[in-house]
């Protein structure tokens, strides 16, 4: 039986401790963010090596909290946040899966609108490769995004990258998943 363990990860080297969401976010998002901040260790190094922290969100999420598998990350320049929720609450090993993705303006917490392009990708830095094919990030009528057909074909540390392009600038937010048997 495999499962995924996840933790919040941002691109910034500097430690941070804050809840960037506003009332425009659903209450489960606020609760989950608080929970993840606590799990990550407030004031700790958000760029720590991807060791297994045991912070498996899926099986421990409270009923009133976020959906199973929920993750949130802040971009490198702190201009946007993103959340992901895998269908079924877990990222499977070597099976196609889909994600629901939401993008927020970091300062206002409102859905992100001032961008030209948003893309999603996943890579295994220890192996120097990514997924076997590209995945599109499709905007839905309700403002969320869907990424379908992702496939993590190996156990180990995967990074999920969300890149937002505005004019000539590209900015990344990333989170990570540790897939195990």
């Amino acid at each position: 039986m495999m499962h995924s363990t996840m933790k919040e990860q941002t691109n910034r080297a500097a430690p941070r401790c804050r809840v960037p969401l506003t009332a425009t976010c659903g209450p489960w998002q606020i609760v989950s963010t608080l929970l993840l901040v606590l799990l990550a260790g407030c004031g700790g190094d958000g760029n720590e090596a991807p060791e297994d922290t045991g912070a498996s969100a899926a099986p421990t999420a409270p009923k009133s909290g976020p959906p199973a598998g929920f993750q949130r990350a802040t971009s490198s320049r702190e201009t946007f946040d993103f959340t992901i929720v895998p269908d079924g609450g877990e990222i499977p090993l070597n099976e196609p899966f889909s994600l629901t993705v939401e993008l927020f303006d970091h300062d206002t917490g409102k859905p992100l609108t001032d961008y030209d392009l948003a893309t999603i990708d996943a890579r295994m830095p220890a192996h120097g490769h990514g997924m076997k094919h590209d995945v599109e990030l499709a905007r839905q009528p309700d403002g969320t995004f869907r990424a379908e057909g992702l496939l993590f074909h190996m156990i180990g540390h995967w990074e999920i990258h969300l890149d937002v392009t505005r004019g000539p600038k590209i900015e990344r937010a990333q989170t990570s998943v540790n897939l195990k048997f």
């Binding site: 691109n11 120097g128 990344r172």
Partner: protein
Amino acid sequence: MSSFVRRGPSLYTHAMPPIASILLAAACGFASSATATCEPTPLQEERSTHLGLYLGTVDSLVRPVAVAFGPAGETPRALWVAEVGDAATPAGLRALDGVNQSLGGKTRTVRTLQRRGVGVLQTPSGIAVDGAGVVFATDIEAHALWQFDGTGAAVRLAGRGAALGEVLFPTDVDVLSDATGAARMLVVADSGNDRVQVYDMSTKTWSAVAPHGLRSPLAACFYRDARDPKAAVRIAACDGVHHCIRTVAVDGTDPGRFSDWGPFPSFVSTPSGISAMDGLLFVADQENHRVQAFDPNKKDALAYRFGIHAIRPGDGESTLHYPTGIAIEGDGAVLALVEPLDDRIQVFGRAEGAVPKEDPTRAGLGPPSAHFGRVASASGQFLATVSPESHRVQIHDLRNDRPVKIADLFGFGDRLGMMRGPAGVWLDDDGRSLIATDSGSSRLTRVTLKTKPEDTLKQQPDLAIFEDALRLDALDIPESMRPQRESAWVRTIPGPVCALEVDGARFIAVLDLANNAVLVLDDALSLVGVLAPAGIGTLTGITRSSHGTLLVGTTTPPTDEAARSGRVVELSLDGKLLRTLGVGVLTRPLGLTMRDRRLFASDPTRDRIEVFDWPEDDAEPILHAGGFGSRGLGRKEFHDPSALCVLGDGRLVVIDYGNHRGQTFDAEGNFSAGFGSRLYVAPLRVETK
């Protein structure tokens, strides 16, 4: 009579990654023919053998980059060579006699028949010769296409720019001759404008041909399907960003593509020269150190290949070392292959027997062990270098007596965190911050390195977090920021980069190689200035001073009155030219690094490192404190020394580019150690004098 066939090469510029070479061969390829119909000759019909038999080596050349067969005076089939030259020898073209099937012996210095383009060409990159002996050459530094007639008279056919009939970093030219041997059509690889252009010699009109997706063509040639004499002439171009071969009809229709980036058979890495013969396209596969022959009409295009990677210094006799330009004699009997770093041309003939089969034991081999590129940077416990073969930035840990590679960053591609052509690196903030520029994607990327000085030295594949990036060619540069020059402002091609802090604010300075300007960005990656003093010349390198200014290496072309000269200029962030140094000492300063008040500058064309000391009193002149280095493999000997870094303990690191190694020196300039993964390091372990 003969016809031409040409080709050429590439050339690398000092700061850009291999914008290399070119080549190709003439029109229909073959022979003399005199007509563009290219009927197979009896010789071709009988010929069942393949090219690849080593015949000999032409040595004693001065940085040759491109070759073409064609007439020179009374000699119907001379080998024309484009040479970049060095500090003592000017750039130019020359015709060599005796490069044919009789070229016996391992090496031979052949007779020079004629010279052309001396005093006109700054940095030739491609050459073609028509059947009448008219020579065409591209100049990658002066951004020009030249024509030289039999008397040597020069006519500039194209100059710098992005409009039709203008070129930017042209890398190659090929000629299609008519029945009389006279040039009917030219094709030019216009790398800076991501296109090839065709020039009709009779109407003197230009047309642009840009096969879909073509980026930075490094070489181009005319070719025709040898099995169909009535087939239309087509163009093949080497894509230097995507590392593939693109084909297209002369009128721009019917595009095709084959090959891809990689080390394996049928893949290419920096395809830098191309020439056609017998319906095959012969590609000088520069960073895979081989020649591959492709049939563009087949799905599995690779027909055969020859040449293996030279391992030891000076290896030859069909072992290859960064081959660039390629040319095939008109009847297809002889192929000439240029290797600029070894100052030589290897010549191959027709081998007997069947076309060689792929050796399955070699098919799975990965890329050759890493070479060092021309840029590097050090900060804290890390040294960052560039690997030309893998197109990655490599991070080395400096806590041993020699650098130990612990991580490969980036990958080949378009996404953030990938690259098409690393052009500059800058490490800062005690090794926590990396800035890298990519000429292929015209992009600057910022990376955080998870530095952990307390950890034991080990591989760290997840060392990097890619933060953000900026598309430099998409910057909106207001007219008011652009320098007032006669030449047009064109798309930015980034080169070396550095960062500095002034009055508590952080800035990034990037060389714009296409516009010879320094772009200054703030910490939000917003453009805050464009530095381009009048007459600054061609930019070659950049670093920060120890007192909040920029130091920029530049070179100026040779003139009738003076040889090529280099210098370093000190610029303030508001664009003021504060000082000029190194005039009369430097030729082409490339690597620059400053610690305290001492500046080190590498000069690849002279194989030397020069040292300059800043006075305590700004009113005093800067002192040239001396220098060291000469061509060779021993200690304090170099082959194109390029990047320089000063480490925290005062040691100087020299990236000895042509020798594929690094050397370190203590603060007094004494040799300390050599490093690198290749045998070129071995001579450093023994006393050589």
